[in-house]
Amino acid sequence: MSEAKETLLTGLVALLLFAPLTGVSLEGYGLNSHWQNPFLLAGMAMIGRLLLGRLRGLRLPAGLAEYDWQTRLQRPILAVVVIAALIFPWLVGKYWLNVATLALIYVLLALGLNIVVGLAGLLDLGFVAFYAVGAYFYALGFKYLDLSFWIALPGGALLAGVCGMLLGFPVLRMHGDYLAIVTLGFGEIVRLVLNNWIDFTNGPNGVRAPFPSFFGLDFSRHPMPGKSSFHQFFNLPYSSIHKEIFLFFLLFIVVCGMVYFVRRLRRMPLGRAWEALREDEIACRALGINHVTVKLSAFGIGAMTGGIGGAFFAASQGFVNPTSFTFMESAHILAIVVLGGMGSTAGVIGAAVILTVLPEALRDFAEYRGLLFGCAMVMMMIWRPRGLLRSRRALFRREQRAC
């Protein structure tokens, strides 16, 4: 079919698609007319179709695509990132610091899910359940047992990890999409129980979670009698930004630790077993790898990371309620992992930061945020299905060069 003909056809189909939904809008039981909208959209579709035809031949220059900057520039980039993170909190206001904290939480979650999906190849659509376990463990632990953040953090991580293993146990017999569905169902069950068990979780009203203390010093303007707060101890004027900076650095340290941990894990037999199992399960089992323990460990460690992220989320928000743990949240984390390139740590971190900061920066387009987000997901899948940064397999590159 000639290009002109195909463009016309695109326009016609677009017109038919857009006419009823954008040409008129429902108003009560009547209709308002916006007859120009469908023509505008159809015109845009035609232009898009033409441009797409032109662009199809283009590829990234081979040199750029092949340039292995991940290895070559690793140290400089790492240094820049660390220095930037150290300076950043002192330069920006509380608002952007909050955004950065949220971005770091997503980095943590994405790293956790990356272990399950990216490394072990187990599609988990209910990751948000572990996130919720961590967050609620902290909030409810404080409410009923007066647990401090420093106990709730490892406690929540442990509990989430145990939950992950418990869920993993019956589920591991099935594979691929069935696993995805069961985890999705599990995620929904956790959210619904949190929502409905009103006597215990306070239901949709949510639970308050206090701010973590700094070695026993809290950050309130007026501390409890007998205790001193951060600004009094260090003789600083009170500012609400202190605690945000503290949380940011704390989270930054945890994320760095996590990155290091994952990096080491990937070189250990366990990490290699994950990736091997992802590539070919039957071959692995034939070679004597215990697929149950390997998969369970991936599930457990991933869930644990989710739990840590949850505790931090509760602390930074000051309160948790079930609407923060919907399927869309799972999809968001999965999107980060996929856009970043499954299995690639650097890519996942980049994607988490971009996907959290960008929507905040584009507040003026808040109306169109969901639309743009969806378009980005589809287009990424079509043009860069392996993510922003492709994951490299851990090869023994040096030995190869020596040959």
Binding site: L21, V24, S25, R173, F327, V338, G374, C375, V378, M381
Partner: protein, 307 residues
């Protein structure tokens, strides 16, 4: 517990289940043929609900008064337009990913689902919309007292009957026509089918069109019955229908319908006799249990793992 309450809950469950079944067909057909979970299918159903209201309002503006004729015209127009949506979604978001890894189409589908939701929100507004009730009345069955009866409205009857008819039509299409044979061939072995001269891209497109058409039927019927909808109904209905498809055995057409009815009845009885709050928890637990003990669903064929 009196009999009429029990029977009424069975009717409620059957109606709800028929809707789930109609939507589930779309999931199960797509999964059967290309092995992907079409997450955007729920949104297609949501679009059908909006189209129903828009076409109905349009017909009212044109002065059409007869309800049966209006329903038929709206059904035809909605199916046509929704099918076009199904086709376009496949063409834009899934066809380029035919040879990508397994996760790519799934992510793309989640993206499409976001796009469609926001597209409708932006063009139609976020508020709850509705249609005037045009299909009133119904039957009092087994009436044995002023309060003891089973109520079946005309709209509910229409849902069950239409669901059965469309299932038979679909079954006929798959089992008896040349195109249906091609569908089955592609489902069994896509490469082999294409070697034997089946245009696989076209077959897959047809499957999407059929699935969207069934979702459109569900959308029209639900809108006629409940009369109100918003841009978010696709998500809830999608997850439930998907649960139904898996419950019945994903990939199996009768399984989808059976799964839908089982899920609808389970929800209805649990809500009626145990607790409404935990209805959804029960539905999802059922799903998890079935998958653990019979991973291939009620009517599915167990997958053989090949080396």
């Amino acid at each position: 517990m009196t009999g009429h309450i029990f029977a009424q809950q069975a009717v409620n469950g059957l109606v709800l289940g028929s809707v789930y079944g109609l939507i589930a067909v779309g999931y199960t057909m797509v999964y059967g043929i290309i092995g992907m979970i079409n997450f955007a299918h729920g949104e297609i159903y949501m679009i059908a609900a909006y189209l129903t209201a828009i076409f109905l309002a349009g017909l009212t503006l044109l002065g059409l008064q007869s309800p049966p004729l209006a329903i038929l015209l709206v059904l035809a127009a909605t199916i046509a337009c929704t099918a076009l949506y199904g086709w376009s979604v496949e063409r834009i978001a899934y066809r380029p990913l035919r040879h990508a890894n397994r996760l790519a189409p799934l992510i793309s589908a989640i993206g499409i689902s976001l796009i469609l939701q926001n597209y409708v929100r932006l063009s139609q507004g976020a508020r709850t919309q509705g249609i005037p009730s045009i299909l009133d009345g119904g039957f009092h069955l087994f009436a044995s007292g002023p309060d003891a009866f089973v109520r079946l409205t005309h709209a509910q009857l229409l849902i069950v009957v239409t669901a059965i008819i469309s299932m038979f039509l679909l079954h006929f299409f798959i089992a008896r026509t040349a195109m249906g044979r091609a569908c089955r061939a592609v489902q069994q072995d896509r490469v082999m089918a294409s070697l034997l001269g089946v245009n696989t891209d076209r077959v897959i497109a047809i499957v999407f069109v059929l699935g969207a058409g069934m979702a459109a039927v569900a959308g029209v019927l639900v809108t006629l019955n409940y009369g109100s909808f918003d841009f978010f109904i696709g998500f809830v209905a999608g997850i439930k229908a998907f649960t139904a498809a898996v419950l019945g055995g994903i990939g199996s057409l009768p399984g989808a319908m059976l799964g839908g009815v089982v899920l609808g009845l389970a929800e209805s009885f649990f809500s009626g006799f145990v607790n409404t709050d935990y209805k959804d928890v029960f539905a999802f637990s059922l799903l998890v249990l079935v998958l653990i003990f019979k991973p291939s669903g009620l009517l599915g064929v167990p997958e053989v793992e090949k080396v």
